[in-house]
């Protein structure tokens, strides 16, 4: 049985405020009064009937009935206390509140609907932001360049050197591959070298070949960057003669320095 925002459980004798969840187990007088009012809902219940008690129960005094009405109204709250109406000189009346209940629901619906729409909008915006974030991540992963190829070259001594090519595209890399093969042939002539990894990349307009040699010498990292421009056609960035001047077969950092110095003296 619904009474405003409260539900009356006649079987258990509980009045439950559904907004707050507060359960009020009705005392004897309140239970008796409310049961009778519900039983005769929409009709005036005479005071003597309310005071008559319930079957085995003792009779209630007029003051007990008045106090029960007061506490029931208090529990129903200011919004619904008028559900229990005093009919002067006769008794009390529980007003049929179906119509009012409906209007209340409409009022609630009118309130809740915009809030729900607002929440749905916020949720949609959140989902949209999340999608944009993921899309952004996906774009980033596209921007990341992975090696075009990694080739391990084995020298005559058995030493291995990784030759790694980088290109933003998987097509039109013939020149880069061709130049890397030139370099690999040069490396294969070395019995041993200080370099363990070689990185190659060709500029996007194929004007500059970049070679980075990396190695270790007594725990120290060694790096050598070579940038070769070639205005000739066809382009020959890496040639056997040029590789000889580079001293790529060096086995110590001092030899590299010596090589650089000797080039400087030319």
């Amino acid at each position: 049985m619904q009474l405003g925002h409260c539900r009356f459980d006649i079987g258990k004798g509980d009045l439950i405020n559904q907004d707050t969840g507060v359960v009020w187990h009705l005392p004897r007088a309140e239970l008796h009064v409310l049961t009778l009012l519900v039983e005769y809902q929409g009709k005036v219940v005479a005071k003597p009937l309310l005071e008559s008690g319930h079957e085995d129960d003792l009779q209630l005094s007029s003051a007990s009935v008045s106090r029960a009405i007061f506490t029931l109204r208090s529990f129903l709250g200011p919004q619904y206390e008028t559900l229990i109406e005093t009919v002067k000189g006769q008794g009390y009346l529980l007003r049929p509140h179906r119509a009012r209940k409906q209007s209340d629901k409409q009022w609630l619906k009118a309130l809740i609907k915009p809030l729900q729409i607002l929440l749905v909008v916020i949720a949609l915006v959140s989902v949209l932001l999340a999608v944009l974030w993921w899309a952004n991540l996906a774009t980033d992963s596209d921007g990341q360049v992975l090696p075009l190829s990694v080739e391990t070259v084995t020298l005559t001594s058995g030493q291995q050197v990784d030759v790694i090519l980088y290109s933003p595209s998987k097509t039109n890399n013939e020149l880069l591959i061709e130049q890397s093969q030139q370099l690999i042939q040069g490396l294969q002539l070395c019995p041993v070298t200080i370099w363990t990894r070689v990185f190659l990349s060709l500029s996007h307009d194929k004007q500059v070949l970049n070679i980075t040699l990396r190695g270790d010498h007594y725990g120290q990292s060694l790096i050598r960057n070579l940038k070769i421009s070639d205005l000739r056609q066809p382009k020959q960035f890496v040639t056997a003669q040029w590789l000889e001047t580079l001293n790529i077969c060096s086995t110590s950092s001092s030899q590299i320095a010596l090589s650089s110095r000797s080039r400087g003296g030319e």
Partner: protein, 172 residues
């Protein structure tokens, strides 16, 4: 508590959560400070002429979201053969993928002494960056770290869109 109150609390909590997400995002994307120093040997193969060789020192500094890149060219005797100095800002740092997006907005060029041959690489870089700066008002580039060893203070990086691989020293 009334239903209205509960909805109000829900919205407040949701707004707070969204605010926290925004705050975390802005904090985690704060640009990192770093400095790379890369030295290269330049070779220019020319038809019917001897190779003209130079050295190139590139310093890339990122501090508090600002970026400065200096390309300094030297001949084999150590004389300055030109300098390209670029400034801009760090747009985005992807620490997971080790990528840095930089927008260069200003460029200054200083040629070497009179009679000093300008390195081909200088001409090339000046031309490429000039095209972008004149066309869009900025020259965008990204730096992707391919290999990095903090203990040995080196990193192999790849510059895009020029697709230039380069080994650099990490300067702390």
């Amino acid at each position: 508590m009334t239903r209205k109150g509960l909805w109000a609390i829900n919205i407040v909590v949701l707004v707070c959560l969204l605010g926290c997400v925004g705050a975390i995002y802005s904090l985690t994307t704060k640009p990192a400070n770093f400095m790379l120093s890369c030295s290269s040997e330049l070779f220019n193969h020319q038809a019917g002429k001897a190779d003209s060789d130079h050295y190139l020192l590139v310093d890339l500094v990122s501090k508090d979201g600002l970026a400065q890149i200096n390309y300094r060219y030297y001949d084999l005797e150590g004389n300055s053969a030109g300098t390209l100095s670029m400034t801009g800002k760090v747009n985005k740092v992807d620490t997971e993928r080790q990528m840095f997006d930089i927008s260069v907005t200003t460029k200054q060029e200083y040629v070497g002494a009179k009679g000093q041959a300008t390195p081909e690489h200088y001409e090339y870089l000046s031309y490429i960056s000039g095209i972008h700066l004149n066309k869009n008002g900025m020259h965008s580039l990204s730096v992707q770290v391919l290999e990095r060893d903090e203990t040995k203070d080196y990193a192999i990086v790849l510059f895009q869109p020029s697709n230039t691989v380069c080994g650099c020293r990490l300067v702390h």
